[in-house]
Amino acid sequence: MADSSKGKEKKKTTDGATGGDAPKDWNPRIVGFLCNWCSYTGADLAGVSRLQYTPEFIPIRVMCSGSVDVAYILKAFLEGADGVLIGGCHLGDCHYLNGNYKARRRVAVVKEVMEGVGLDPRRLHLEWISASESGKFAKTVSTFDETLRQLGPNPLAKERLL
């Protein structure tokens, strides 16, 4: 255990320290997988309620947070996204009984993989946002945006640009 955590720490330094190097006009790009029944509707309500958040957040509608394939998350990072947000129904409130538990388990695994490849796991965020929680939706996106600003651009994107 001690060895593995050391390894993790070592690799962490490749990501997360670049905040200062970010270009001036850089805004973190966030890919959002929103479940059809709760978070996507919450996002709709956030708009209708005139709640503002970063326009660099791009929503992708999925039927259930439990249907978000690990490959999509990794693909987003490989394509240069600075953060990935997954929005699902509250635990126990899943439209499909327990898809959000599956999402939670999957996210936990992906976070470990991210650490392994030198990506800060904070770039992946899972949040339970119900259809009526427009405020929580906007706040989640904004807080996540703030976190990503501190982390700086996705190092994978940088490599691709070079």
């Binding site: 509707t41 708009g47 326009p55 791009i58 249907s67 999509y72 693909k75 990072f77 327990n98 599956k102």
Partner: protein
């Protein structure tokens, strides 16, 4: 996969709705449409005020004719609010529902930011994403399944009886499965129904009052030639989905396999057992539930002892102090349920008034938290009880102690704010209502979700939206409710089922999981991930080598389209129509780096 082919490129009609004033200011739909218009790549973009006017359909028909469009992308409203509207609009011009995409420019773009450039960039990514979705989508032949015409009704209370009788009246074969030996359910244990003050349903009364007329009669149900009664029977297993269920019904003598097209769940609920609330001395013979009081009253009526006063169970004395306790095991965080049972206030008021009429010298009191009567006619009923001398005491009784053959009640009277003790010789508990034991197992067999409080709920979409599931929950199986609402539930379910099954072929047009046989290794992870039992493993034999192998198959009638199996599959052999890998990956590409 048979019936599936990849759509390489479609002629896409992009409609950007200029209906929203704020959108006009920030996005300038017309110039956006101009910018997105790309006939060479088969994107035909339009933004015209006619799209928001009354002759929208004609205008769209003209556009589709002109551009030969095979898909429609709508920029403006969200799928959640306007998806069905635009899919219907598209169906008028022959475009299938899976080739309609909505881009929520109003809800998720223009209000998000004040910056014009950022909003426009975001809008463009979202539109590109939708265009890519239809281009990378997979055409799915609309699946049609044959509909069996018979219907199973589980539970023979008033709701189930009404559903069975209506369905049989429409000419359908109905199987009515009842766990006990007789029909009628709880409604038939009551002597009267309140607040209408009618006699109990199906009584031998020569008059036909309102509730009697509206309540299904047992003899009509038992004698109907199309209703087959299966008493003392239980459902053991359910296979299949809407249009074709195979149901194993077990009785002590036999086991039968029924084939039906839809299922009505009318399993009712059960009364809270006050036995766990020791402080109320529930073991005492004079502490009874309101249903036991019904039995006392009913016994007296049945045996023509109407001239005799009611006697209490313990020693047969005529009670002089009768106290009703409301909310026992309901609206309680520690016992029973925190939910209100909806009927007990109405019922207790009615019973109290009847007892007061029967025993004018007795003290009849109701201890309540709030008077709740969600029925028409309740207020008058309540007022009549007050006028007849029933006492209403606000406060919760915390203890009942036996005392010299009588009972001592301790409670805090909220109106005077002091603890009070009071003597009673008969206590009636208005107990809460809980889901019937076995509800969770039944829900699992049927592949439908449970509510927070353990009912096969009415607020899940099983009932309202997705009649393709073929499971209809009526009466108290969906939560506590009065007789008239239960009966109405049964009738409503019968009408819905008849409308669905009448088509004989049922279209399954929603998102459904599909298995690629060549990729499937038969590991079975998808089977575990499916909460609805829609995925099963099938054993097959390779014709050339004779070797046996397993492959996953999806029952489209049981699939809810969540896509959990797709995300679980390690060999990407299952996909969800409308959310295929090609589509999502393209969307992710556009969303991740489109601006760089």
């Amino acid at each position: 996969m048979p019936g599936l082919r990849k759509v390489d490129r479609l002629k896409k009609l992009l409609l950007i709705l200029p209906c929203d004033e704020e959108m006009e200011g920030l996005l300038d739909p017309e110039s956006l449409a101009e910018e997105m218009n790309d006939p060479e790549n088969w994107v035909f973009a339009r933004s015209d005020p006619r799209l928001c006017g009354p002759d929208r359909s004609d205008y769209i028909a003209d556009l589709v004719k002109e551009t030969e469009a095979q898909a429609i992308i709508v920029g403006g409203p969200s799928d959640r609010t306007h998806g069905s509207v635009w899919r219907q609009e598209a169906s008028l011009v022959g475009i299938p529902p899976d080739r309609v995409e909505l881009v929520p420019l109003v809800q998720q773009c223009i209000y998000v930011t004040d910056e014009k450039d950022a909003a426009r960039r975001r809008a463009k990514i979202m539109i590109e994403s939708a265009l890519a979705r239809v281009d990378t989508g997979i055409d799915r032949a609309v699946e049609r399944v044959k509909a069996m015409q018979a219907v199973l009704v589980i539970g023979g209370g008033v709701a189930g009886m009404q559903a069975a009788w209506d369905l049989a009246d429409f000419g359908r074969q109905v199987y009515l499965v009842e766990r006990t030996g007789e029909l009628g359910g709880r409604a038939h244990q009551l002597s009267r129904t309140y607040p209408t003050q009618d006699c109990k349903p199906d009584g031998c009364c020569p008059q036909s009052c309102r509730d009697c007329q509206f309540t299904p009669r047992i003899d009509l149900v038992t004698s109907h030639p199309l209703i087959e009664l299966l008493l003392e029977s239980e459902v053991r297993s359910v296979k299949g989905g809407i249009g074709g269920y195979q149901i194993e019904v077990h009785s002590p003598e036999t086991s039968r396999l029924l084939e039906v097209g839809a299922i009505v769940v009318a399993t009712g609920n059960v009364m809270f057992d006050a036995g766990e609330m020791g402080e109320l001395s529930p073991w005492h013979p004079d502490v009874i539930s309101f249903l036991e009081l019904e039995k006392l009253i009913d016994w007296q009526r049945k045996e023509d002892r109407a001239w005799e006063p009611l006697r209490r169970p313990s020693d047969g004395k005529v009670p002089k102090n009768i106290h009703f306790l409301q909310c026992v095991g309901s609206r309680d965080e520690h016992h029973g349920t925190i939910e209100c049972s909806l009927v007990c206030c109405t019922y207790a008021v009615g019973q109290a008034k009847d007892l007061k009429d029967m025993l004018p010298d007795a003290t009849v009191a109701i201890h309540y938290m709030d008077m709740r009567g969600p029925y028409r006619g309740f207020e008058r009923h309540y007022l009549e009880a007050q006028e007849s001398g029933v006492l209403f005491m606000r406060g919760r009784v915390v203890e009942i102690e036996p005392d010299n053959g009588n009972l001592m009640l301790s409670y805090e009277d909220i109106d005077i704010g002091e603890p009070v003790t009071m003597e009673a010789d008969l206590v009636v508990l208005s107990v809460g209502q809980l889901p019937t034991p076995g509800t969770a197992e039944l829900a699992q067999m049927l592949g439908v979700p449970l509510d927070d409080d353990g009912y096969i709920g009415e607020d899940n979409t099983t009932y309202s939206l997705w009649d393709r599931r073929g499971v209809y929950v009526v009466g108290c199986a969906a939560g506590p409710r009065g007789i008239r609402y239960s009966v109405r539930d049964g009738r409503e379910a019968a009408l819905s089922i008849d409308a669905v099954l009448r088509r004989t072929q049922i279209e399954l047009a929603d998102n459904i999981a599909e298995v690629d046989d060549e990729r499937c290794v038969g590991c079975g992870q998808c089977v575990e991930s499916c909460e609805y039992g829609a995925v099963t493993l099938e054993e097959r034999t390779d014709l050339q080598t004779g070797r046996k192998y397993r492959v996953a198959i999806v029952d489209p009638r049981r699939c809810w389209g969540c896509g959990n199996c797709h995300a679980t599959c390690p060999s990407t052999a299952i996909r969800l129509s409308g959310f295929s890998d090609d589509q999502l990956v393209r969307q992710v590409e556009l969303a991740s780096g489109g601006h760089r």
